[in-house]
């Protein structure tokens, strides 16, 4: 598939697009970055591994597709691996050098780096993940 079809596909049929009530999941409600997008990201993080991750909410193409791709990329990964993916993704969105091989389909979003007013859309779900990882690490430090 060419990249724009990948992007459209993730928007029209987003992956891991269903929230859960399970108490095993942490949730980040991402609604304060702009007055438009309003999404929730949920992750089940156990023993340093992101066992499951989901999202839903009101969002544009870029927010939806970028979060959908993010869930694909980090599901089943360790926190360390997820952090490496995040670092590379943020580098790509900032227009810096990054490792394409790590980002898989998410490279379809490379063009967002040239549309400054949409960078928030491309990172909202990823910042949700960042928050969930930080919370889980804090909890583990406390134990």
């Amino acid at each position: 598939m060419i990249l724009r079809e990948i992007l459209l596909d993730h928007y029209e049929y987003p992956h891991n697009h269903k929230l859960t009530d399970s108490p095993d999941f942490r949730e980040a409600h991402m609604a304060s970055e702009s007055c438009i997008d309003d999404i929730r990201v949920q992750a089940k993080i156990e023993d340093g591994v992101i066992e499951d991750i989901r999202f839903d909410g009101r969002a544009c193409t870029i927010s939806t597709a970028s979060t959908s791709m993010m869930t694909d990329l980090v599901k089943g990964k360790t926190i360390e691996q997820a952090k490496e993916i995040m670092d590379n993704y943020f580098a790509m969105i900032d227009g810096r050098e990054f490792d394409e091989t790590i980002l898989d389909e998410a490279i379809a979003l490379q063009g967002v780096s040239k549309q400054a007013n949409r960078i928030k859309c491309a990172t909202i779900g990823w910042h949700g993940l960042e928050k969930l990882i930080a919370e889980s690490e804090e909890d583990n430090d406390g134990k």
Binding site: C35, I36, C60, L109, G111, R118
Partner: protein, 410 residues
């Protein structure tokens, strides 16, 4: 009649500017307007030729600044039909409305009093009232809007009571662009002993304002939405109300004298509300802007906007892929969505075609209760917009498919 070909020459921003590589079409005039040379020149003149602080110097330069600054009260007074003693310079409509809420509201409201707003109000005519209600124990209620989202006298009559102390509403709403019957709404408010606070941010530059005829108690507006500079605005208040109010900001310029024992003698209105060195060049720019739009003529401005709106609404309806939320709006504001496309995606595509429109909820975050959607695209026309601008928008809307919205990222 407005000759846009001549008018456009007055605006540097309309001189062959490009956006995304295409000739710029600016349709975000409800957010802010472009500035004509006369405004830019007036501000530059202050910087180049008579910079000094007002009301403080005994020298000629400062007197020139005093005269330029003070003369704007009269210029604004002639625009809205009030005395110059009733014109307070503020940092904008938001600041003006906050003065009403925190000076008048905190001083006069008590537990159980009612503030009436509408669900179409901009944040700046809602959030100050939320806070003042919390502090005083007053309650907020909403005037029902009609099925199109319009504020009507009947709506006000259906909820107003002796408990109502403040009725606050926009003379033109910022998403739907309906003109309120301000005069009748004020009359009803006064019948019940309430005061009427009018948010004129979207109206002062588009329709004639006559505060005497309207009989409103307060009117707030911003310079930057009427071809003037940002950071400056006006609060009109009836003289007797201003005289009874105490300011909520204090500092230099607003008092005549103060003593160690806490005695303060404030100046009279409007000066008592203007503590600190004001935005002098901004006020001078506002004066030039008011003169400029007065020379174009508010009747002409309204007529031009109305004709453009009728034209573009008709064209958009022919497309079939666009939903309009204010088909019968009164001003140059058109709220719409391309069917099945998120407003922000559509606005980005439209932007990629060189056309500036806004997407989102436009700070009217309670309006979704009325129109059923949280995000819209807002195209807002002004007197310098042309039929070609309208055609460019229609063309962009026609081509606004999800594929094209995504296409801008490749």
């Amino acid at each position: 009649m407005i000759n846009t070909e001549i008018i456009r020459k007055d605006f540097p921003m309309l001189d062959n500017k490009k956006m995304a590589g295409k000739p710029l079409v600016y349709l975000d005039n409800s957010a802010t307007t472009f500035k004509p040379n006369r405004v830019i020149d007036a501000i530059n003149d202050f910087y180049h030729n008579y910079t000094s602080n007002i009301h403080r110097g005994e020298y000629e330069l400062s007197q020139k600044a005093d005269n330029a600054y003070d003369s704007v009260r009269g210029i604004v007074g002639r625009l809205i039909n009030c005395s110059e003693k009733e014109v307070i310079f503020t940092s904008g409509a938001t600041n003006s409305l906050n003065i009403v809420a925190y000076s008048y509201g905190l001083q006069n409201l008590k537990e159980g009093d009612e503030i009436l707003l509408t669900l179409a109000e901009h944040a700046s005519n809602v959030l100050p009232w939320f806070d003042v209600a919390k502090r005083t124990g007053a309650v907020i209620n909403y005037i029902p809007l009609d099925e199109e989202g319009r504020l009507t006298p009947e709506g006000l009559k259906s909820v107003i009571s002796e408990k109502t102390k403040i009725v606050a509403f926009a003379s033109v709403t910022n998403v739907l662009g309906f003109i309120a019957d301000v005069k009748e709404l004020c009359r009803i408010a006064h019948q019940y002993g309430a005061i009427a606070v009018v948010d004129g941010a979207q109206s002062t530059a588009h329709i004639k304002t006559d505060v005497k005829d309207w009989d409103c108690d307060f009117l707030a507006f911003s310079a930057h939405k009427m071809c003037g500079p940002s950071g400056v605005g006006v609060l009109y208040g009836k003289k007797e109300i201003l005289d009874a109010m105490v300011p909520f900001t204090y500092g230099g310029g607003s008092n005549a004298r103060f003593e160690a024992d806490g005695t303060v003698i404030l100046k009279d209105a409007p000066e008592k509300f203007e503590s600190g060195t004001p935005d002098m060049e901004g006020v001078i720019g506002l004066g030039a802007a008011v003169k400029y739009i007065s020379s174009v003529g508010l009747d002409n401005i309204y007529e031009h906007e109305k004709q453009l709106r009728d034209y573009v609404v008709r064209k958009i309806k022919e497309l079939g892929n666009v939903e309009i939320y204010n088909e019968h709006g009164d001003t140059g504001i058109i709220a719409l969505n391309v069917k099945d496309i998120f407003a922000q995606d559509a606005a980005s595509y439209i932007g990629s075609q060189g056309i500036a429109v806004r997407s989102g909820n436009h700070c009217a975050k309670m309006l979704h209760n009325v129109i059923g959607v949280t995000e819209t695209i807002r195209a807002s026309f002004y007197f310098y917009n042309t039929y070609e601008d309208a055609d460019r928008l229609v063309e962009a809307l026609k081509n606004c498919t999800i594929e094209n919205c995504i296409g801008i990222f490749f």
